[in-house]
Amino acid sequence: MTSAGIRAVWAVLTVVGVIILFWYAASVPMNIKGVLTEFERAGEQVDPPKAVDRRDMSEFELVFDNPYAIDETWDQDRPRLPAPHQVAEELWETTVEKKITSKRSLIYHAWVTLSATMLGFAIGTGLGILLAVGIVHSRVMDLSVMPWAIVSQTIPIIALAPMIIVVLYSIGIQGIIPKAIISAYLSFFPVVVGMVKGLRSPDAMQLDLLRTYNASRSQGFWKLRLPASMPYLFTSLKIGIAASLVGAIVGELPTGAVAGLGARLLAGSYYGQTVQIWSALFAAAILAACLVGLLGVLERLVLKRMGMSQ
């Protein structure tokens, strides 16, 4: 590895290390009151001994007065803020140690969410590209569709998602489709914006050149506009797929879904299982990172094949 590469790895590890240290540090004051209450119930000596007296005291003061409790703040069953190793343990147990078919397997839940994400992403990307092509080629569409596309994104998805699910349910559509539609709703927009920009990226000279060849509009599209838009498309797809995942998770919340990362989040918050919530959040983040990374690899391959990356 080059020295620059080693430096980069060190930089990343340092940042991660600082975050984890900060996280452990934050867990102590966040959890101290709960820990002291547990200790009091177990009949141990706590300072001050009464919960009423502790209630209004600052967390830092309590930590200072009861340093022996610090260990326990990182080891509670239902901490306010679970420590990193608790989340890591939960992630390990629910991915590696559980069978994929188990209802407690995070892989199973991630797969449920991922399938809705991919379907929604496909719908959203297809729709986005079609709209962009229409907008670039028709002034009427440019004037009529674009404002609606923008308005659609100003409505909070959390408000819209239940309505989409209710409306679709009333016409007999349920399961993966409503979730996919919500995720398509979030992912089409970056694709429209990126593709409109990409399809319009050829400059006046490029368009004049095609005019001197007496090229048709469709030749201009296939030979110039579409290839020119590829770098823009991939940038949009990366934003779009992350939005798709958020859409699929949000789509799982209002239905009281029994499966999916959204369902895990919901169940975790019902039963105060913070460790479960955090591990589901991390699973979602890891999934999003993998999807975006995968698109990045695809982007490099395609652009390299096209000769557009040097």
């Binding site: 000279m205 050149l209 001197t212 007496n214 030749q219 020119a228 000769g307």
Partner: protein
């Protein structure tokens, strides 16, 4: 130039006017332009910025529409000539598609015009040789120098059978050494292909070195102030630029440019 060739007018402009309507009022880009370009001529358009030399070239290419007067290209309206693919156009920037190799870039007009695959390969091979780029067909544009890219763009304009070549400051962005070299090559190419060339430049030596006819233009409104038929022989080594004839023509061009300037 032979009698027979000079009788065939390729471009004919009479009383040509072009006014652009802008937010700051009308701009008189071309005013009463009269010019005849005969077959096989190498015509340079020279003048300061805003003199309408590029606009006139774009009118010939039907990329702009004149607002008055008449203009014919090969005896047709410019737009008919464009639809008949009567000319190849070389822009100031090479404008090669970065996602296509040099050979594929040259094939672009051929694909659009529906040449067969075998014919495309044949023509690419020929024009690559013509612009001295044999062996570079498989390279991508970014792998070539600016001068080579511009040569590839000239090859692209030569690939189909247009007998007019319109060039809008094609070497303007290149350094002088490369430019000299390309000027020499362009003359050789012109001699081989016998095309009619319209060439926009703001370099006096370039205009005098290349042209059989030099059209001097001046701005506000864009108009022709002088048309000089070059007395230089068709065979022109680079050092012709040190001969008295060359210097005399260059002097006349400079006088024409200066005369245009005192008007405003």
């Amino acid at each position: 130039m032979s009698e027979a060739a000079s009788n065939q007018a390729v471009v004919q402009a009479q009383g040509l006017d072009l006014t652009f309507q802008t937010n700051d009022g009308p701009i008189h880009a071309l005013k009463d332009v009269n010019l005849t370009v005969d077959k096989g001529e190498f015509v340079s358009f020279i003048g300061p910025s805003g003199c309408g030399k590029t606009t006139f070239l774009r009118c010939i290419a039907a990329l702009e529409t004149p607002t008055g007067g008449t203009l014919t290209v090969n005896g047709m309206t410019p737009d008919e000539a464009r639809r008949n693919r009567a000319y190849g156009y070389v822009f100031q920037a090479a404008g090669l598609y970065p996602w296509r190799t040099i050979a594929k870039n040259i094939k672009l007009p051929l694909e659009i015009m529906g040449y067969s695959a075998a014919e495309q390969d044949e023509r690419v091979k020929n024009v690559l040789e013509l612009v001295d780029l044999e062996g570079f067909g498989g390279k991508f544009p970014w792998q070539l120098s600016g001068g080579m890219q511009q040569r590839a763009s000239i090859a692209r304009a030569l690939a189909f059978d247009a007998d007019i070549l319109l060039m809008d400051e094609p070497f303007g962005a290149l350094d002088e050494i490369v430019r000299d070299h390309l000027n020499e090559q362009l003359l050789a190419l012109w001699a081989r292909t016998e095309k009619t060339i319209g060439f926009v430049t703001h370099s006096i030596p370039e205009a005098v070195y290349l042209s059989t006819k030099i059209v001097v233009m001046s701005p506000r409104p864009g108009r022709i102030t002088d048309v000089i038929d070059s007395p230089l022989p068709k065979e022109r080594p680079l050092d012709i630029r040190d001969t008295p004839e060359f210097i005399e023509v260059a002097h006349r061009v400079r006088e024409g440019l200066r005369a245009g300037h005192t008007d405003d």
